[in-house]
Symmetry: C2
Subunit: 142 residues, 2 copies
DNA sequence: CTCCTTATTGCAACTTTTTGCAATTGCCTA
DNA sequence: TAGGCAATTGCAAAAAGTTGCAATAAGGAG
């Protein structure tokens, strides 16, 4: 299935349009797999679609995040990067070497339920990024 | 106890210096209590200390965060804001009305321990912000 | 109290991100 | 298949954030 076939119906269903700009950006995110900063997305997408502007990239990334086709996350330097939306997960980043691993959302489920009942809020989404020292860097620290 | 008396020893103990710039910024954060964006800190601190520059504000806020005198957190619009370091807590923000409540870190303790044992990482810090609908906005949604 | 080291700041140029508005263009309807 | 409405984009200017480097100044030593 192509990106167009996969994502167009999802946008239409919500009353939005598929455009060459959105498609190029989705394509970049989809095939890269990992996190990309807005600037990285801009550079890559512009190669597919010359004439694309930064403003459009920033607006599109935010738009895709709102519509759950992309997810924003903080990277090690405290800036926001985006990745294509797959399964729910969060990130654990090593403060020393920058190595990154995924944290399944499942581990947070019970905490989540408790937070909802204690606060009265209905939780919808979150920005979670964990920092620490990976096993290798802990050794080097002794 | 004045801000100077409170914070100067903490910096000295780590081998850093107290300066009028740092003191002004700490003073702003301390007396405001809540989150302030870098621009808000700049505007306020500059009133106490004309001649202060943006570059210094950005560098100082990052410096204070590294040294645990201030804490960074994502606010509702996805940008980083800072508050004076008090007890460990996180934030739960209503997507509709913007209302904000604090989430005690204690609620995360067991999830934290599990995350450490499963990942092998030693956790040091994190950026956690939760979003949802507050009780009032849930009513309005029916 | 003065000197000296080096942490810290200001400056200025630069990059990144945001915003309003007019022009464009998806895509629904007939 | 053409027409029209509203979503979306590009443009250009502004705002926010970053960086390297030379000048300044905090605070320990003599």
């Amino acid at each position: 299935m192509t990106c167009a076939e996969e994502y167009t119906p999802q946008l239409r269903a919500r009353g939005y349009r598929m455009t060459p700009q959105r498609l190029a950006i989705l394509h970049i995110l989809h095939h890269n797999g990992g996190h990309l900063s807005p600037v990285e997305v801009f550079d890559a997408a512009r190669r597919e679609l010359p004439g694309l502007t930064e403003a459009t990239v920033y607006r599109t990334l935010e738009f895709l995040a709102e519509n759950h086709l992309a997810r924003p996350a903080l990277n090690g330097n405290g800036h926001i990067a985006y990745e294509i939306a797959r399964h729910e997960h969060h990130h654990l980043i090593c403060r020393r070497c920058g190595n990154e691993m995924e944290v399944e959302h499942a581990i947070l489920k019970s905490m989540y339920a408790r937070l909802e009942s204690e606060s009265g809020y209905r939780l919808t989404d979150r920005h979670l990024t964990f920092f620490g020292l990976c096993p290798d860097c802990q050794k080097g620290e002794l």
